[in-house]
Subunit: 457 residues, 2 copies
């Protein structure tokens, strides 16, 4: 019986929990999934069972499906590498930057590090909202003439973290909408906060979330006339994963839609510097956005800061809850209570990013990834696939009509040793697509494309 139970537990646990280090009595305390062994426990309890607290698991956590997408992809990549230890696996999956950070930026971080060893250069707790010089530089660089001031900018350790802090700010009583497909952190953080119902596996959606379908048919911009009113609307442009960016006219429609509904728009512009056409790079380019919109973004994909951790969120003073209370004031309270500021060293890096040399260096890195993007787009075009994205974003969205995204993901991984991301991981609207990231060394991009051609020619 012990054997059976231990097996059933292993199968229900994620890899990160090293089950082998649990003692037998601890193992048997974990209720096995429904199975023969399970029933055996119910009728004949083991002599010694593990201690359980009397604290109920947060029901919202139980609603979450499988693991968060990107760790899941990483796990599948690692399993593949175990299976093929000699294969040269190329990762175009989780959108992780690969190119070194320009020296003008890293030397600023090194200097700040060294300075922390000196009496003059040491600093302890910084302002939770970020250092004034960085907030000022962000406002000046990204929002000049857009009516955004230094104190509207909250520096953070990244957009993903701020999305969760925004959800904590909104609380559990709001309803939300998001693009389908889109970056999974919006939906998952909403589930965790209790804003949603259960997951309906037949449609691949959580109850009480408004999924705004974005597909080739509507040019990847939702038909707002069919979108129900929600309190909060998450909108990512350029979109992750489709790579589509909304035009000025579309964003005007979106702001008007938010205004008509009295909704708060959370606009994720983490890829704005990849825009090549005249799509707006900030929602605050749209008149009236200051009264309905929050913008969250990051240095991750501009300066290779995915590991350094630095981002920011803008909340204009004009954005008010229904009772007139400023949203920024509550967010300030969240930031002060639940956060302690981004690392001072990362902030020194951010400031260097916004110097004239830093801006040029970031532009060069972005330009490099955009060349990668073109190579990937050309490859899939030459193979006769319908390809979207790529123009204003480092993501290429490849259509495999009628096929399961996870099947295509598995096929590409198995046959080419290239990791991509299955479109359905971003929502049911991503089914039939695969996202190929342009973040990679040039030789890897070229080699991956050679393998794609071998597989699909």
């Amino acid at each position: 019986m012990a054997m059976q139970m231990s097996v059933s537990i292993s199968s229900s646990s994620s890899a990160f929990l090293n089950q082998s280090s649990l003692t037998f009595s601890e193992r048997v305390g974990v209720p096995p999934k429904a199975s023969g062994a399970c029933k055996c426990v119910a009728t004949e309890p083991a002599e010694k069972t593990a201690f359980t607290t009397k604290v109920s698991r947060n029901a919202n956590m139980g609603k979450l499906q499988a693991g968060y997408l990107f760790p899941e992809i990483a796990r599948k990549r690692n399993a593949h590498m175990l299976k093929y230890p000699d294969a040269k696996v190329i990762s175009l999956g989780i959108g992780d930057t690969t190119e070194p950070i320009p020296e003008v930026i890293t030397s600023a971080m090194a200097n700040r590090s060294y300075a922390l060893s000196t009496l003059e250069g040491y600093s302890g707790y910084g302002a939770e909202q970020g250092e004034k010089a960085l907030r000022t530089a962000i406002a000046a660089t990204f929002y000049a003439d857009l009516g955004i001031e230094e104190d509207d900018v909250f520096v953070s350790d990244g957009a993903k973290c701020d999305i969760s802090r925004l959800q904590v700010l909104f609380g559990s009583d709001v309803s939300m909408a998001c693009q389908d497909p889109s970056y999974p952190a919006y939906v998952d953080s909403s589930v965790i906060m209790g804003q949603t119902g259960q997951f309906s596996s037949d449609v691949g959606k959580y109850q009480n979330i408004e999924y705004m379908r974005c597909s080739p048919e509507n040019g990847f911009f939702p038909d707002l006339s069919s979108v129900a009113r929600t309190d909060v609307i998450f909108f990512c442009s350029p979109n992750n994963p489709t790579g589509a960016s909304a035009s000025r006219d579309q964003l005007k429609q979106l702001v008007q839609f938010a205004k008509d509904n009295g909704s708060i728009l959370v606009y994720d512009s983490a890829y704005a510097k990849y825009i090549t056409d005249d799509s707006p790079k900030s929602i605050f380019e749209i008149p009236g956005a200051h009264e309905v919109a929050i913008e969250t973004t990051s240095f991750s994909k501009y300066a290779g800061f995915t590991g350094v951790r630095l981002g920011w969120t803008v909340i204009p003073k004009q954005l008010l809850f229904s009772d007139g209370f400023p949203v920024a004031k509550d967010f300030n309270r969240i930031v002060c209570t639940c956060f302690n500021g981004a690392s001072n060293i990362s902030q020194a890096g951010g400031l260097a990013c916004l110097s004239p040399e830093g801006l040029k260096a970031m532009g060069d890195v972005i330009g490099f990834y955009k060349e990668n993007t073109n190579i990937i787009v050309d490859t899939f075009n030459s193979l006769g696939f319908k390809v979207y994205g790529g123009k204003n974003a480092p993501y290429v969205w490849v259509h495999f009509p009628g096929r399961s995204s996870w099947d295509v993901f598995a096929e590409i991984l198995e046959k080419t040793h290239v990791v991509t991301t299955p479109g359905s991981g971003f929502g049911p609207g991503g089914e039939g697509f695969v996202r190929v990231s342009a973040f990679g060394h040039r030789e890897n991009i070229i080699e991956a494309c050679r393998r794609f051609k071998e597989l699909y020619n």
Copy 2:
């Protein structure tokens, strides 16, 4: 009328919102607090009012009292400095480290920064749970022979941030207890998550929080026989602000209490390395703690990392919700969804902290602050005050029987230009006390003590 309204708005807004940059129409959109001017608005609305969304403010945010304690203190310090621009203000208030970080640690961070500019040294997204080498070093340094393994350790950007992530993990349906007085992040994050009722200003407590009184009368350890059962118990030892550390016997009682009640104990050991007697430095020194306890802590007060941001939380595999689901597995999901790992540069610093040279250097810094502590303790003792703490913590807890903490805080600031922290900011049990932090340059500690003697001799 416009004049009146603008005045009433300014008085209800915190300093961080620069009201002067709002236009008139924006100002009038903020509903003024109840007042004569307010009624005037209700009956004769201004011609143009500002746009408000239809999103209700999160009611839990509305329950919070004033600002989070430490930004409040900073605001009062800044106001004092404006009033006395020539005064040499000494800050022994918010517990901010002042001494330079040892070079063995900063050079590791500088080297990691430089390496990010190289192909070999660049790294993007790290594991959300922290780099394996650091998790391993933390387990080996702090938990050798305590049954804690590398994968039980979650590296973070600080204990305060992890406390909020733990609250998100628990959700809104749990009840909590905390020491009174204690670090305000426990209570405030609980309020934000909706675990509490309203604040009762007559008793200075939130409804549905169990305040465990810690006073000189009970040796700063709660009388557990009079503590109601809660799902979660926050316990900080050495305690912030009282400086009291629980003995081994007391912690055995506490673990047994948690076990009897099926509660989860969140043990904050951020000051453990300041312990000089034989009090346990980790809750996992107590047999059985693995089945009821989480430990959260930080490099902030050990290595001067208050601005660098690095901490960790330990969740043993044996800690299970009532349904047998491992708490660590849900926390892993929170960390993956709401966080993206601590800065890789900060983690390089953390690893250097745990090298033999780093450990010695940290010990020297801690020793320095402990000498400061002795100076402060001796000063208040010599003035005839009852003084607590100081022995196992960098905080001195000075009793001013019968007086209001905020009055004493204001008196000390006004007459000596020294910033302290009013005890009541940590809960009603702190009333009549003031916390004096030992974090400061030696000459400032000596000068502050000279001024204390002048004032209270």
